[in-house]
Symmetry: C2
Subunit: 216 residues, 2 copies
Amino acid sequence: MKLFGLAVSNYYNTVKLALLEKRLDFEEVAVAPAQTPEILEHSPMGKIPYFQHQGQYICESQAILFYLEVYQPTPRLYPTSAARAALAQQIHQFIDLYVDAPARRLLGMAFFGQPHDPEMIKAVDQELKHNMSALNSIISVSPFIAGDQLSHADLAAFTTFGLVQAIMEQTGGSDPLASIPGIGVYMEMMSQRPSVQRVQADQAAAMKQLFGGNSG
Amino acid sequence: MKLFGLAVSNYYNTVKLALLEKRLDFEEVAVAPAQTPEILEHSPMGKIPYFQHQGQYICESQAILFYLEVYQPTPRLYPTSAARAALAQQIHQFIDLYVDAPARRLLGMAFFGQPHDPEMIKAVDQELKHNMSALNSIISVSPFIAGDQLSHADLAAFTTFGLVQAIMEQTGGSDPLASIPGIGVYMEMMSQRPSVQRVQADQAAAMKQLFGGNSG
């Protein structure tokens, strides 16, 4: 199994967490998103992550996650009851569509030197407040985000919440996690998992490589 | 089981097709998307479709589809092999994110009297050409869109292709399906299914009710 992409990406890290939780052997290949023939051949939208196993290439993190679940069902990341399965999927959709997507509009301002646009920052800030409240109304942190078992929704939540919080901090917006009471305890619990510690260490190293080590 | 939403919506119809294919008993409740307390209580982003069964409300069509699959596994709409399951999920993501989403920006111009913006129409037209070519490179119409069995990707493809084609026709753009050779035969095959015929008849009646019957 080969995972292609960058260790700074929340989508990449969501898939990487699934590979680690399922104790699968995999190789990481550092590839930046690009519209080059080499990338497009295996990821037709030029995006990362993408994944290769047994001659098949798969892109879209939700498709890779589902592949891993069917290939290696234990430990389960897709709940077996219809009610829990639907809740985890619903939470994952909310995170991708209503948390990641709006915050991503500020990625250039937060990390790549694009001039700050106060109106856009304010608009995203308000959209995130609204959407995080909506998310809060469907989650059930008990102790995991879709119930008593770890699921794919936790992997997306942890990696995306971290990114979105960093984006809003860098752009002077408000803390998007403030709309979810008790989420600090959840993030702390997640950060104790060996899989998460590995991903966070690799992400920090990749950030340092990308932006230089001059923060100290 | 209750399905809430509008029979003019491709997302609503994707879920309705799954209910019909699985021969489940369900009731349809006509509800428009809205930011009212009544809707937000059950669909926290105010969107349709949403779904209710055994006291649980679920929104996001991909979450409802997965609920139905776990609750009633036959006939299967999620392939059982990892490779096919991933392909169907990848195609479904492409359709939602890269086909529906860009075309949806022209929905107001196509159907709700919003003044045509030639630059935006051109931009969407080009984006769709690019994205439909990308989709074409991953699909395998043999005879279904992810292989030899009907899958959830077919339900999303049929309903969304129909919408996107109508949007581009109404706004004077080019036929987005032209990037997928042989797709006409596929659409014709799909339109022979009793589930599809029911959904299309209901959609036509809903369109007539929404826009009036003055087209003849």
